[in-house]
Symmetry: C2
Subunit: 316 residues, 2 copies
């Protein structure tokens, strides 16, 4: 059987795959264009998820399975895929650990005032008079209580934080002391020391937070957005900072990325910009390929226990 | 009964104490000198632990209990105290939470390269090419596996780190995957990504780590010292940095504090200086007074269940 990659993994991953599945013929191409001539022979296509079109699906006559080594599926030609009944799996879940570590790291460096500490250090200043705090017994409100939010909640509880969450149904979830919905969470805003969003971009979440929401927060509150930039309009964030409604905002996602060099967020004292870093990790490809390898075994065994099967109808 | 403080707590704590124990006469003095005239009448003395001398013990004819609202007992006149059979308790344990949070915060900001991120941010630079890593599955070696080390181990396990420890006996402890002694831990140095010391200063720990120990560490290793400055001679630390034997050192404790303005550590690229911050927390006095209040109740009830009783013979 032939498995075609439309991107070039590192040599170590290629060796690992060839060693693990010696009976499989792996073909690696730098881009889909180069892979086209082999598509008619491919049983499996491995893609980053942004290159396949109806044309490629049609060409891939023997294709039975497409593995997407990312979590993003917005550009997949699902209509053609569904028509052909091709199995799709993705690398859902691999953002959980890096995003949770990044978030806890941001909260701890805020509590310990490490930005101020590093500034002091640069100036050879020994001063212990910093407004430090603890995560211990602080309140964390997580907008988006899915796999990533749940992992952040788990770590928050390890630090003995009070953790509340927001999901679509308000159904209780492990590691959350209580759960709210997008309609009921406003009452909880005034209790939280840290308000974190990992919400995806949907019709319901777009421009969800308005100035009035920030007005309800503590003036010592910290807002962190590692979800999607369109959760809050830029004008709202600037007004919140201008009026000093809360203590600080850490923004990792933006309407337009990269954030333009002359954007007012960069120099705004109430806002810290991070360049969409939360999910970045050296372990991305190892984790994605780990899922892939397990699914290859499943495929070879004619089994049904695939990890992360995507419903081509729904698109997720 | 009279309880004398040789320091002045904040007004809120004074009110809390007076409300909690209305039958007790509390007297608050800014320093021991001002308290001297009342010492003969005091049943209980509350001190930060650095002001009492043999003279004060002799003057305090009625004293039955001394509460030290810190963990440090090096300056206590234990000989005189023992002779008089005065009970001593301290605030041992209140460093556990802030020191553990500080340590995990340092490790996370290192893994996520936040110093570099803040530098980029200052220059309005959007770059995602940073050598970030994860705590997940990284190895943490904790020199000093007591209450503080144990709390750091607990949090390390929450991040799914491999956690090994060093204590005097090598006896296994909760949250540690394995335990070594001061004589056997060298074999573990080469396995650790983070080497953390919370060791106290004793004859056995003074100048414990030599250049050869750092030579055994990974060249990507991170060394953190929140214990005592005399664990490693300054010349050793400078040589380790000069030879780039490990990736980075975070030092929170020093031979001489404050670290002098012209000290070479400040500008050393391999060393980050923090001003003995690890145990600083706004919750210090609330936690110390919480212990004190419980012990006052014990004292009033003629019970024996004191928290943190100190053996005047051993001095801890």
């Amino acid at each position: 059987m032939k498995i075609i990659f439309t991107f070039q993994p590192k040599e170590e991953f290629i060796s690992e795959l060839k060693n693990s599945f010696q009976e499989v013929e792996f073909l690696f191409y730098k881009k889909i264009k180069e892979a086209e001539k082999e598509l008619p022979e491919a049983e499996v296509i491995v893609t980053m998820g942004e290159d396949l079109t109806d044309f490629h699906i049609e060409k891939s006559k023997k294709c039975k399975w497409i593995m997407v080594t990312s979590a993003g599926l917005e550009k997949m030609p699902f209509k053609a895929i569904k028509k052909r009944g091709i199995l799709v799996t993705n690398a859902r879940g691999i953002h959980r650990i890096p995003m949770a570590e990044f978030t806890i790291g941001l909260m701890l460096q805020h509590a310990k005032q490490l930005q101020a500490v590093w500034k002091q250090e640069k100036d050879s200043v020994w001063s212990r008079r910093l407004p430090t705090s603890e995560l211990h017994e602080a309140s964390l409100l997580i907008l988006g209580a899915g796999a990533i939010g749940g992992e952040i909640a788990r770590l928050g509880k390890a630090f003995h934080m009070k953790v509340t969450g927001v999901n679509s149904s308000g159904t209780p979830a492990k590691h959350f002391d209580s759960m709210f919905t997008l309609k009921t969470f406003q009452t909880e805003l005034g209790n939280a020391d840290y308000i974190l969003s990992v919400l995806p971009s949907t019709e319901k979440t777009k421009h969800l937070l308005q100035v009035e929401h920030f007005e309800q927060m503590k003036d010592t509150a910290v807002f962190i957005n590692i979800g999607r930039g369109d959760l809050v309009e830029e004008s709202v964030l600037l007004e919140v900072s201008e009026k000093k409604l809360i203590q600080h905002m850490y923004l990792d996602v933006f309407d337009k990325e990269p954030l333009p060099k002359d954007h007012p967020f960069w120099e705004n004292e109430g806002i810290t910009v991070t360049p969409h870093l939360s999910s970045i990790t050296k372990k991305y490809m190892p984790r994605a390929l780990e899922i892939f390898k397990k699914n290859v075994t499943t495929y070879r065994n004619n089994s049904e226990n695939y990890i992360n099967v995507i419903d081509a109808e729904r698109g997720y």
